[in-house]
Subunit: 208 residues, 2 copies
DNA sequence: ATAATACATGACATCCTGTCACATTGCGAC
DNA sequence: GTCGCAATGTGACAGGATGTCATGTATTAT
C-alpha cells in the first residue's frame, strides 16, 4: 500500500506520478516496467518515489486496485442486463469489451492493454482475494435460481471458471484480432460446456 | 532455442549448466532468476552463456520443453488408467501429484516447485502451442464416446479448462497444504461442473 | 602448414534498484 | 517571530544485472 505521505501529496503531483505509472504499465509488461522511467517522466526524484511506495509491486498493486473496482462495476452492469445469469456473463462481457466500446472507454482501454501485455494477468486472482473470487457487488446480482446449487460457494466456482474463459478469450483476441469470430465461437462452446456439461448423454449419471 | 554450439558441448559442461539453471529456477520466480548466479554456479564465463542462449527467456523455454514432454507422458498414463475419461483426469492427476509420489519423483518435484513459484505458470499455454492445447500423445488416449461431442476441437476445449482447474488446485495446495482436503473437494465440484454442467435443471434446454 | 571456421572469455557500457545522509519545509508552542 | 520537532524532499551511491565485443584459442579442411 502507498504511504500516508503519498495521499497527502498535492493533487497535481500525485496525478503526474499516476499518469506516468499508467503510461509505463501500458507500454511494457509488469516485469519490464522501470521505476526509473516512471520517475523521470513524472519529474519526481528517486528518493521521493520510495517515500510513497515500497517498490514496484506496491505501485502495481495500487494501480490495479482502482482498476479492479471499475472492472467489477462494469461486470455488475453486464450481469444485471443478463438477468443474473452467470453463464451468460463472459460472452456478454466479451462482446462489450471487444466491440467499439472497448476503445472509447479510456479506463477499459487501459485495462485491455494491461491484459494483453501481461497475458491475462491472472484475472481470476485479480478479481477477488484468495478465499473468494466472486466480489460481493457481483454476488448480489446473481440469480441463484439459474444455478444447479444456489450457494455462494458454488457461484464462486462458476465465476472463477468463467473468468478464466473470459480472460483467455480477450487475450487471444487482442493478440490476433483476425480470429475474433473463431474465438467468440470457442468462448460460446466453453460456456455451454460450463452450463450444460461436456459429458456424453450416456455418461451423465446426474449428481444431486 | 539454444544454439547448435550448445548441443555440441561436452556432456559434463552442458550438464553443469543445466543443473545450475534448474537450481536457480526452482529457487526464485522466472522474473527474479539471474543469469549471473547461474553462470557463476556453473563456472561458465559470461560470454559463453550468450553463445549458447539468446537470453533468459530462451533458456527457460528450453528447460520447460523437457519438462513438458515428461509431464505429458505422466498425464497420458493417468488418462489411460482413467479409461480415457478426460473429466476424471484432473482429480486423478491431482491425487498423484500431491500424494507421496510427488515427492519421490525428482522431475515431478521440480515441476511442482516451478508451478508454485510461478503461480501456475500458465499451465494451459505451457501444455500446448497457441492453436492446440491437447497434445497428440494425450488425444490418442481420449475416449471420445464419453464426450458430448467427439471432435478433437471439443476435447481441446475440455482439456484446456481441465488444465486450468488442475493448475489452480495444485498451486493452492502447495501454497497452503493444510487446506488440501478443501481444495480437493473444490476441484471435485469444478470437474462435476464441467462434466454435468452448472445450470439448474429448469434452465437446461439441452443443446445438440 | 595454413587458412578458415568455430568457440571461449572477461572487460565494458549501460541500465536498474533501494538506501541513506543531509537539506528543506511545515507547524505548534512559547 | 522564532525555536524545535516531525514530516518531506533529494540526489549521490553501492550493489547488481544484462548483453556486446574485441581478442584470444582450438579445430578442421585442404
Amino acid at each position: 500500500m502507498p504511504t500516508a505521505t503519498f495521499f497527502r501529496l498535492p493533487e497535481e503531483k500525485r496525478k503526474r506520478l499516476i499518469d506516468a505509472c499508467w503510461s509505463e504499465m501500458t507500454r511494457v509488461r509488469f516485469t519490464d516496467a522501470s521505476i526509473n522511467r516512471i520517475i523521470t517522466a513524472a519529474r519526481i526524484p528517486r528518493g521521493s518515489f520510495y517515500q510513497y511506495f515500497e517498490d514496484k509491486e506496491d505501485l502495481i498493486r495500487y494501480l490495479l486496485e482502482d482498476m479492479r473496482e471499475y472492472f467489477v462495476s462494469l461486470l455488475r452492469n453486464i450481469l444485471i442486463e443478463a438477468r443474473g445469469d452467470l453463464f451468460a456473463l463472459p460472452l456478454a462481457a466479451y462482446d462489450r469489451f471487444i466491440g467499439q466500446r472497448g476503445h472509447t472507454d479510456p479506463m477499459l482501454s487501459l485495462f485491455l492493454k494491461l491484459l494483453r501485455l501481461n497475458q491475462g494477468m491472472d484475472l481470476q486472482n485479480f478479481m477477488g482475494g484468495p478465499e473468494q473470487f466472486l466480489p460481493d457487488e457481483l454476488w448480489e446480482a446473481v440469480d441463484t435460481v439459474k444455478l444447479r446449487r444456489g450457494s455462494r460457494e458454488y457461484a464462486d466456482q462458476v465465476f472463477h471458471l468463467s473468468c478464466a474463459v473470459l480472460a483467455f478469450a480477450i487475450v487471444e483476441t487482442l493478440h490476433d484480432p483476425a480470429q475474433t469470430t473463431q474465438i467468440r465461437e470457442m468462448t460460446q462452446i466453453r460456456m455451454d460446456l460450463l452450463r450444460y456439461g461436456g459429458a456424453a448423454e450416456g455418461y451423465k449419471e446426474e449428481p444431486t
